[in-house]
């Protein structure tokens, strides 16, 4: 338990992103973005389409090389590390476009992350430091995030599951690694109102378990209920940061989303 959590000293941010820039060909996707995330935060990253949110996630988690800038996690410089090494340290992410094994039962989709070194070290989400049978651990994880064991939902073929469950499956993939940070890339998108209603408490539960969350989102109302800090990107630049109210009061933010100043307040 001890060393995998909270290696950072108090006061030192868990994740620090400094001056990150990235262009693709002629397009400047990220421009000198700074971000600090402390342990226990839920940080929201918002911005219109194309503002660079997913690119930022890719940059932090090693899926793209940075042109400039630095990313540090738990005090170590992880800039340009490979994605699996970053995940191995406890910094995980979900994918907006999920591609589970559709023809396999839901819990089989967790076998791959449970195969990783980190999972074997930590025993997966609830393991006490040792990995039991992978199948059992997988089903346990799914049950915890809301796959009802009585209805055999974890055993259902992934292609038969609705979006809400698939989103949770994606989160479970991260949980299997016993993460310290989970970057959620639009986990709320595509959910119905009832699915949303059960997803929000799940996020809160993860926070209570000690996971730090960074949530890239479009659905602002629910995000604002959860996040204690919000960062706004537009055209690759950070244009605002603060609490939800502070951020939505910015003229630039309103213009970014709606194109003009006359706009309804959101919060």
């Amino acid at each position: 338990m001890g060393n995998e959590h909270g290696a950072a000293m108090s006061g030192e941010p868990l994740l620090r992103v400094e001056g990150v820039s990235k262009s693709f060909g002629g397009v400047l996707a990220l421009s000198a973005v700074d971000l600090e995330v402390n342990a226990g935060d839920i940080v929201g990253i918002i911005g219109p389409n194309g503002s660079g949110k997913t690119t930022l996630v890719n940059a932090i988690t090693g899926f793209i090389r940075l042109d400039h800038g630095k990313v540090s996690f738990k005090g170590r410089d992880i800039t340009n590390w490979k994605p699996h090494k970053i995940a191995d340290m406890g910094l995980t992410r979900t994918f907006q476009v999920m591609r589970p094994y559709y023809s396999l039962p839901a819990f089989k989709n967790l076998i791959v992350p449970l195969f990783s070194r980190r999972a074997r070290r930590t025993g997966g989400w609830r393991g006490g430091g040792k990995m039991g049978s992978r199948d059992t651990v997988a089903v346990d994880i799914l049950e915890e995030i809301g796959f009802e064991r009585d209805s055999y939902v974890p055993y259902k073929v992934a292609s038969s599951l609705p979006t809400g469950y698939l989103k949770r499956l994606e989160l479970a993939r991260c949980l299997a690694l016993r993460p310290e940070v989970v970057i959620c890339d639009e986990v709320f998108s595509g959910l119905s109102m009832s699915e949303m209603a059960s997803m929000v408490p799940l996020i809160e539960k993860l926070q209570m378990e000690g996971i730090t969350l960074i949530m890239v989102e479009h659905r602002l109302r629910e995000l604002f209920r959860l996040a204690n800090r919000v960062v706004v990107l537009n055209f690759g630049c950070k244009i605002a940061e603060g609490t939800a109210e502070e951020v939505m009061a910015y003229k630039e933010v309103k213009e970014a989303y709606f194109g003009s100043e006359e706009v309804l307040t959101y919060v």
Binding site: G25, T54, T55, F63, I64, R65
Partner: protein
Amino acid sequence: MDIIIYGIINSVQLVLMALGFTLVYGVSRLPNFAHGALYVLAGYMTWLLVNRVGLNYPLSMVVSLVLTGLIGAAMYHFVLVRVRGMAISEIIASYAIGLAIIEGLRWGGLKGGTFTLPSFVEGSVSLFGVSVDYQRIIVVVAGLVLVALLWLFVAGTKLGLALKGMAQDEQAAMTLGIDSDRMAVVSMAIGSVLAGVAALVLLPLGSIVVEAGYRVLIMAVAVCVVGGLGSWNGAILAAFIIGFAQILTERYLGAHYQVVVALLAIIGTLIMRPSGLFGRQKELEERV
């Protein structure tokens, strides 16, 4: 001094061999493993036309170039287009076709006896104290002219610009109304013709041997990998690097090591700088 001259000649030879391959890959992301086959095929067709059909040499060359281009286009249109996008199948299919052509030629044509194409101009001249065949000079000139023509074509004509657009960003080009399949056919045709030109210019230096098909493929791939798959400038620069490296090893270590140079070049590039010198797809692991 002769190192420089032979180095230049060798490098231009490599440029000629690689141009077709890099064009096709650059435009349609298709590694054309039949490149070497088209090379040998062009040479053989010319020989057939001259020696069996009795056409005169220049006419045979033109006809076989046209035929080669058509064969390349047909190859794409009938076979490769059906496997577009499935990288594994693309590779297997173009490799299989190339193999079929080369081995078919080995069985059905190029066996027993020597097949040669005459040099364009016989004789040699002395350059800076080094004796150089006219044919080799023609090779260099042809290479330079070809590169210049291609550059003009791409920069100046509508078709060329369309190809360049496809090379840069296929989807953006499609939104501009450029038909990606048609462009791919065109690029295959041009790439095949380039292979044919290389053959016609280079084969007079030796004889037409089926093995050349594989050798040309190896060299073309080596040049393109070192230069960066899809980059012309890279290919040219890489051709000169490898070309001179080969001449130097030939001078100081022995003629046989040329192939080793190619191998080391490929491996070295993949280890140290996988995207090659000017690799367009610099971030090889980048896929979002």
